[in-house]
């Protein structure tokens, strides 16, 4: 292999690092107008009227639309149906493009100004007079279901979207917990965080009446799905006349998977005024309107027998969905969270009871890891706390409970109590390696010494698993997905032997243009420079299901491999004809077909040219060399790993310093180690951010009181140690590349490792549980109590 497994430098970085990227907001179309959206300053308020007359009179204002103008449009849909325990369909209140009856969160859209410039639109917005009547708000998930809580949607009783359960029969789990030798009980708040990609969202709608054609440029991880939803649901557009382009996109972390109201608004408005309409969010607007992540309130119990074997796990969670259902919000706390509660342990009895509620906050949806970090946090906090309570070593307790290694080929995949079958795993392997890197025994000695000298050092573990490569359409369909989750790829070999690859996996930082090209170049035996990866434009790429859930290489890459197989199969037929040999007598290596045992061969470019200039050509074979494939995997993929955090807590200030962070991840086969490492690093920073710094805070009136970078703490380089990362490779047995996905591993594993380390450091104080983020103030206060 020339490229696979090598740290090839990212080809896309040339344009990114020289400021030559082309982002949605960079696009300027002739006749462009600019939209600004008037948003509710209240979390919950009746709207008695909207007076736009003064704003409309401002010079340069082109049009103003309000909720009244879009009342006939249904709103944006939710892509996943979850049912109540009793079988009833979840409550699915409309998510209108703009509201006219009442605003349900700070930032809810009330009116849209369209003007000749962004500045005029913004000025005009100040002149719109909205008559609000403020209503009491509810922001906390556990409070929202109580009697007398304000109703976010008048026709949704107790604000309950659905209740849901998964696992073994409740009575069996209750019995296992009741009869356990020891039960560790913890109450958690998995706080809400803001995804904060560096590029805020933007959208341009361009309706061309002359050809009855709609174009949407948008900051999306998922342009084809947006096109499908716009056509089939939101606006009912003719899909064949809709083009959705997601050009360079500056990060998403989940928040750009979803179909947002603004995307529909700019298209609809462009149709009304017959000019292009651009909307660009600013950072504050992003805090108010981008889907946020996490936000669970949980009671968790883990039962152990005398030896420390886990005998049962019982979870009760309230999940906050925000004011409206976002595209995938309903599946995050359920099928991406409850299904991960087996973790890497042999727990025989598991039950989760979950209630998903509406509150007067912006929507919550998938954020890097999506549900899996919440599940991992519960398990890994429980097991470290259990070790502490039982006087056992947290690493030993894990070794005792690990599912034994299995490769998914010789040994079957591991069937969990919570609906999934793991593909392959070697969980003890990653922890063993991590302990070697840490120098565990040495650390414990240093910790003991330190304690004598008043130094608070701690070590925390996290051995996580995640379900990635999302995933088999039939499975997700049976679980409520309203879309298929395969991926498509087209490999077009040009006559000169250069190759254009059209992939449905969008890249917004992951480096697809490099990794995918490495795969293609190696499989075809051609130079990397001869491969171009095209993505993000529905007019160029036939179909796609986007990038999320660490699925790009496992699902999108596999679709490319399928098309390459078709190219090679056809190429062999042409080569056989040219070499006057049988197909079976040929072998393909290093970019040429050779008759086995001879020096008779023909190169890839000769064959591709012949395919397009078929003068001397096999009978009954079509000309051309262009293949599309759809790949629908047999299962999710299950990356896993062991993360170890080492911290020191300043006993005078409560400040937590992360001294070392060791991560051993197993993401299956690796195409580009440097890119995988980069993904791990970024993920670790975000997971550590949640543990130590980040939290979106709503006050009791539903006001988001830290909606700016002055108030919301993002992790910075000097908050983090130099990460020590290593890998183990357990290939995925069911996709052709043997890959599992690396995008979310860092975020999923790191958060509990850091919190566990802080709890270990604070052991002399008898503190078992602190709410994240572990800010100096919070830690200091607890140390004083």
């Amino acid at each position: 292999m020339t490229y696979i497994g090598k740290s090839v430098k990212r080809v896309e970085d040339q344009r990114f690092l020289t400021g030559k990227g082309n982002y949605t907001d960079d696009i300027v179309l002739p006749g462009m107008t600019y939209a600004y959206i008037v948003r509710s300053p209240y979390a919950h308020a009746k709207i008695n009227g909207v007076d736009t007359s003064e704003a409309a009179a401002l010079e340069g204002v082109v049009a103003i639309f309000t909720g009244e103008d879009v009342k006939e449009i249904g709103g944006v849909p939710c892509g996943w149906q979850v049912n109540f325990k009793n079988g009833d369909t979840m409550k699915e209140p409309p998510h209108p493009l703009m509201v006219r009856d009442k605003a349900r969160h700070v930032g809810d859209a009330v009116a849209m100004i369209i003007a000749e410039s962004k500045e005029i639109a913004r000025d005009a917005a100040d002149l719109v007079d909205v008559d609000y009547e403020e209503l009491p708000a509810v922001v906390n998930a556990a409070e929202a279901v109580k009697d007398g809580a304000p109703l976010v949607h008048d026709d949704v009783p107790k604000n309950m979207c659905y209740d849901w359960e998964l696992g073994n029969p409740k009575e069996e789990v209750d019995a296992a917990i009741e009869s356990a030798h020891h039960v560790t009980t913890l109450e958690f708040v998995n706080q809400r965080v803001a995804p904060n990609p560096i590029e805020p969202r933007a959208a341009i709608g361009h309706f061309e009446a002359a050809r009855d054609h709609y174009t949407l440029y948008t900051t999306s991880q998922n342009p084809h799905l947006t096109r499908l939803l716009l056509s089939a649901f939101t606006l009912g557009l003719p899909e064949h006349k809709v083009r959705v382009v997601a050009p360079d996109v500056g990060g998403g972390f989940g928040s750009k998977i979803f179909h947002y109201t603004e995307e529909a608004l700019v298209i609809w408005a462009s149709q009304q005024i017959e000019r292009p309409v651009k909307w660009t969010s600013d950072r504050s607007e992003a805090f108010m309107t981008d889907a946020q992540g996490r936000d669970h309130v949980t009671k968790a119990e883990m039962g152990f027998d005398e030896e420390g074997n886990i005998v049962g796990l019982r979870i009760n969670t309230f999940a906050n969905l925000g004011a409206y259902l976002s595209t995938f919000s309903t599946c995050v706390p359920t099928w991406l969270h409850g299904t991960l509660l087996q973790g890497v342990y042999t727990t025989p009895k598991i039950h989760i009871d979950l209630t998903a509620v509406f509150t007067n906050t912006v929507a919550v949806d998938a954020y890097r890891g999506a549900g899996r970090p919440e599940a991992t946090y519960l398990l890994e906090r429980l097991i470290d706390t259990g070790a502490l309570e039982m006087g056992m070593d947290p690493a030993d307790l894990r070794f005792k409970n690990f599912i034994p290694p299995f490769d998914g080929v010789e040994q079957e995949g591991y069937m969990t109590q919570v609906a999934l079958q793991y593909d392959s795993g070697n969980y003890e392997g990653v922890l063993k390696r991590a302990l070697e890197m840490v120098g565990y025994e040495n650390f414990r000695k240093e910790q003991e010494e330190g304690r004598k000298n008043g130094k608070l050092m701690g070590i925390g573990f996290s051995t996580y698993i995640e379900a990635c490569g999302i995933a088999p359409s039939a499975v997700v369909g049976s679980l409520g997905a309203r879309a298929g989750l395969y991926e498509s790829a087209q490999v077009r070999v040009q006559p000169t032997g250069k190759v254009s690859v059209y992939t449905g996996s969008h890249s917004h930082g992951q480096g697809h243009e490099t990794t995918f090209a490495q795969v293609v170049a190696d499989k075809l035996g051609i130079p990397l420079e001869d491969v171009e990866i095209v993505h993000g434009d529905s007019e160029a790429v036939a179909f796609g299901m986007g990038t999320y859930g660490s699925r790009s290489l496992a699902v999108g890459g596999s679709a490319i491999v399928k098309s390459i197989d078709k190219v090679l199969e056809k190429g062999a037929k042409i080569a056989a004809h040219k070499l006057e040999a049988a197909v079976d007598d040929l072998e393909f290596a290093e970019g040429k077909w050779t008759v086995k045992g001879t020096d008779k061969s023909i190169g890839f470019a000769d064959i591709s040219l012949t395919a397009y200039v078929p003068h001397d050509y096999p009978e009954n074979l079509e000309p051309g060399m262009d293949f599309s494939s759809f790949y629908d995997p047999a299962n999710f993929t299950y990356p896993f790993g062991a993360h170890v955090a080492m911290v020191e807590v300043d006993k005078d200030t409560g400040k937590v310093t992360l001294k070392r962070f060791v991560a051993v991840d197993d993401v299956g086969n690796v195409i580009n180690p440097m890119i995988v490492e980069g993904q791990i690093h970024g993920g670790l920073a975000q997971g550590i951010g949640q543990a130590l710094f980040e939290e979106t805070i709503y006050d009791e009136n539903g006001q988001l009181i830290n909606g700016s970078y002055m108030d919301y703490t993002m992790p910075r380089a000097d908050d983090l140690p130099s990460f020590e990362v290593d890998r183990q490779v357990t290939p995925c047995p069911h996709n052709p590349l043997g890959v599992k996905g690396a995008g979310e591993a860092g975020t999923i594993g790191s958060t509990p490792a850091v919190v566990n380390a802080v709890m270990d450091a604070l052991k002399p104080f008898g503190i078992k549980n602190l709410a994240m983020p572990l800010t100096p103030e919070r830690v200091w206060r607890y140390m004083q109590e």
Binding site: D126, S284, N701, Q703
Partner: protein, 148 residues
């Protein structure tokens, strides 16, 4: 957001009461209020200029005087709107006589903020608000001296 403060002034309650009930004086001494226009029934149109840390702007809204008991106490109800968000505040002013020529003025209030004001101002708001209460008492004191 909760506001409070207490200040002793060298004047009887009635004198202070008279000052506070005069809209021009009230506008002059209340930090951030630049103008009060009577609308009748103890209601006023209020125009305010505020600078709170990173947030700066002008507000327009209504102020009403309620729960009046001369010369002991009254409540100010303030509803202000601006491009940076809205403020709803309620403040109770209590005048307690101390001896013949002295009064303890007690202020307690709550303010509810929304929009940018809530999102960006909150961190610095508590400090600013308390200094505004202090400013109010100082202005009131100067006003009394000027009238003496």
């Amino acid at each position: 957001m909760h506001l409070e403060g207490t200040h002793s002034l060298n004047a009887p309650p009635q004198e202070i009461w008279n000052l506070l009930m005069d809209p021009e004086t009230l506008a002059r001494i209340t930090p951030a209020i630049s103008r009060l226009e009577p609308l009748g029934d103890d209601k006023y149109k209020a125009v305010a200029e505020v600078k709170l840390g990173p947030v700066k702007g002008s507000f327009e809204g209504q102020m009403a005087v309620a729960d009046k008991k001369e010369p002991e106490h009254f409540t100010l109800l303030i509803e202000q709107k601006s491009r940076m968000g809205n403020a709803n505040a309620e403040g109770r002013i209590q005048l307690n006589p101390i001896g013949d020529n002295q009064t303890e003025v007690n202020f307690t209030g709550d303010a509810k903020l929304s929009g940018t004001l809530a999102r960006m101002g909150q961190r610095v708001l508590g400090g600013v608000a308390n200094s505004m209460v202090k400013q109010f008492f100082q202005n009131l004191e100067s006003e009394l001296k000027a009238n003496a």
